[in-house]
Symmetry: C2
Subunit: 361 residues, 2 copies
Amino acid sequence: MAKNITISVDAMGGDNGPEIVLLGAKMSLLERPNTRYIFHGREDELAPLLQKYSDLQAVSEIRHNDNVVSMDEKPSQALRKGRGKSSMWNALQSVADGEADAAISGGNTGALMAMATFCLRPMEGISRPALAAVWPTLRTEIVVLDVGATVGGDAKQLIDFSILGAAMARSLFDMKEPTIGLLNVGTEEVKGLEAVKDAAKELSSHTGRGYQYHGFVEGDDIGKGTVDVVVTEGFTGNIALKTAEGTARQVATYLRTALTQSWVSKLGALLASGGLRTLRDKMDPRNVNGAVFLGVNGIVIKSHGGTDEVGFKSALGVAYEMAQNRLMDKIGEGLKQFETPDQEAQKAASDGENDGEVASA
Amino acid sequence: MAKNITISVDAMGGDNGPEIVLLGAKMSLLERPNTRYIFHGREDELAPLLQKYSDLQAVSEIRHNDNVVSMDEKPSQALRKGRGKSSMWNALQSVADGEADAAISGGNTGALMAMATFCLRPMEGISRPALAAVWPTLRTEIVVLDVGATVGGDAKQLIDFSILGAAMARSLFDMKEPTIGLLNVGTEEVKGLEAVKDAAKELSSHTGRGYQYHGFVEGDDIGKGTVDVVVTEGFTGNIALKTAEGTARQVATYLRTALTQSWVSKLGALLASGGLRTLRDKMDPRNVNGAVFLGVNGIVIKSHGGTDEVGFKSALGVAYEMAQNRLMDKIGEGLKQFETPDQEAQKAASDGENDGEVASA
C-alpha cells in the first residue's frame, strides 16, 4: 500500500508561470492518485486555474503569498527579501513543518539552494549539500552529483556526496547497492587529485555498505552508464552536465539539417518517423527534468525554469518517488553504515592518543 | 609561397602500429606536397612499409630506434626508461635540434607531455603547459584548453592558457582577434571561483591585444560555438571533452537503433542516406583528431591512440598548419602584447616601492 504523499509546490517559480505548474500537477495526479498538493503563490492567479481541474482541486490547497523570488536575483538578496514571506520559502517551510513530504520549485536555482539550506538546515554529518541530476545513459538512468551546488571540495565532501547519491539511487531506482564511480581524468600522476584519491580509498574500504564502489570513471563513462552514481565536485559536475546538454542539442541540429537537405532525405525522414520519434523521446530533456537538492533535512526538487507541463510532471514524479521510497531514511542509513564499528573504535583510540599527547605536552 | 614543413613522427606510437602512421602521412602528403617527414622507430618495420609508398619515401627519412614507450607506462617511468632513447623522445628531440618544425605522436599522453616538457622545456613566461583540443561546434571549429595537462590552476595559469589558446586559434583558423571565454558555472555567488574571476578581470583589461575577451561561458556554450577559445583548468576541461564524446556516441547509438527498428525505418534511412552521411562526417571524431601540447618551446601534436590513417592524417594537418602559420611566433607576440606599457611601468613602480620598503625597514 502506497502512502499518501503531500508535495509542497512553489507555484510561482519558473519562466512559464503557474499554468504549467498546475497542469503538470494534474497530469502527475493521473499517474499517482495518492498525491496531495499545497500550492504556494498568488491566490488570485492560482484559484481560477485550479478551478479548471476539479480532480486536482479536490486534493489541493492554496496558500496565498504575494512575494515571488525573481529569476535574476542573487541568492543572498533573495534570502534577505524572501525569507519567511515568498512562495519559494513557504514551499520549503511546509516541509520543515512536517506538512509536506517534499518541496518543489522551478525558480532561481541559487536562491532555492540558499533558502533550502537556511530553512531546512544541513543534515547532521553532511559538510555541504549537493545538487543531483538524473542522467539518461545507454544503459539506464543514473545519478550524477554535484552538478553545481558547491565549488571544489575535499575527500570528506566527495564521500558525503557518495552517500547522498547512493541513497538517492536506492530511492529512485529501487536498487539495493548502486555502484559508485568517482569522476577523474585518465592521465596518471597528475598532481592536485589528492581529494579524489583519498575519497577513493575511503569508499573502497566501505564498499558493500549500501553501495558497491566501482573505482574511477571518466567523462565518457557517464553516457555509457558505467555506474549508477557518478560523484564529482560542483564546478566540474555543472560543466559536464551543460556540456552534455550542449552536445545533444548540437547533434540534434546536425540531424535536423541532414534530414531536410533534399526532398529524398525528407521522404526518408518521413518513413523513418516512427524510429525518429523514439529518438526524440529519448533525447527530450523534459523527460529527465528534476534535480534533487541533497544534504538538507527534507526533500527538495529543482525543476528546470524553462520547462513546460510535461517537464514539470517529470519533476513531480521525482519528488513523489523520493518521498514514497523514504529518501531521508535511506540517507540516514547510508551515513550510519559508513561509520563502521572499526572506524568508531579507531576514532575512539585516536581520541585517546590525542588526549595522551595533550597530557604529556 | 608556402615554405617546406618537416614533421618529426613517433612512428611507433598509438594502438594500431606504424601502418596507419605511414598511410596517414602518405594521404596528408597529397594535400600538402611541401611536407617532409622524419620517422622515428624500428627500421626493420618501417622500411618495408615505406617502400610501398614511393612518393612518401622520396620526402622521408627513417631514424632507427628500438625502444617504444608503452601505452600503460606511467609518465615518470616512461621518462626514466625512454629519455634520450625512445621513438617518442627522439621525435621531440628533432624539434629541439631544429631539424623539424613539429613533432607528433599517437602514444601514451602522459608520457608525451612529460617528455615534451623535459625535452623542449616550458616557454619563458608560461607557468604550466596545456593540452588544447580542436572542438567542432554548430558555428565553426574552436579551441578548448586545458583538456588534461594540469589539474587546478590560479588566475595566472588561466591567463597563460588564454594567450596560448588565442595564438593557436590565430594560427589554425587564420583569424586576427579570436574571442575568448572563461568556462564557469551559472550560479552566482558560489565560493571558490576566485581564480576564474581574477583571470576575467585581467583578460578584460587587455582585450584587443591579440584577442577579444567575451566573458564567462557555460558548458553548453562550447557546442554552440559562442567563442573561438574556451579556457578552463585541466580537470574540468578533460571531463568536458570526454563527456561530450560520450554524449555524441550515446546519441549516435540511439539514432542507429531508431533507424533500424522496423523495415520502414530502414527504408527511410536508406532514402535519407545522403543527409545521414553528412551527419556521420560531422560526427566523425577522426576529422578533428590532433590535440596540441602548448607552452613548451616547439610544436607538439598528440594524435588519438586508437585512430586510423584518416585520423592520423587529420592530426598531421594540425601539425602542418601550426608550423606553416608560425604558432611559436604568435605565442611570443601574444605574451608580449599582454605586457602592456602601463603594466611594465606599474611593475617598475611597484619594484621601486618594494625597494623603498626594504630600505626603510
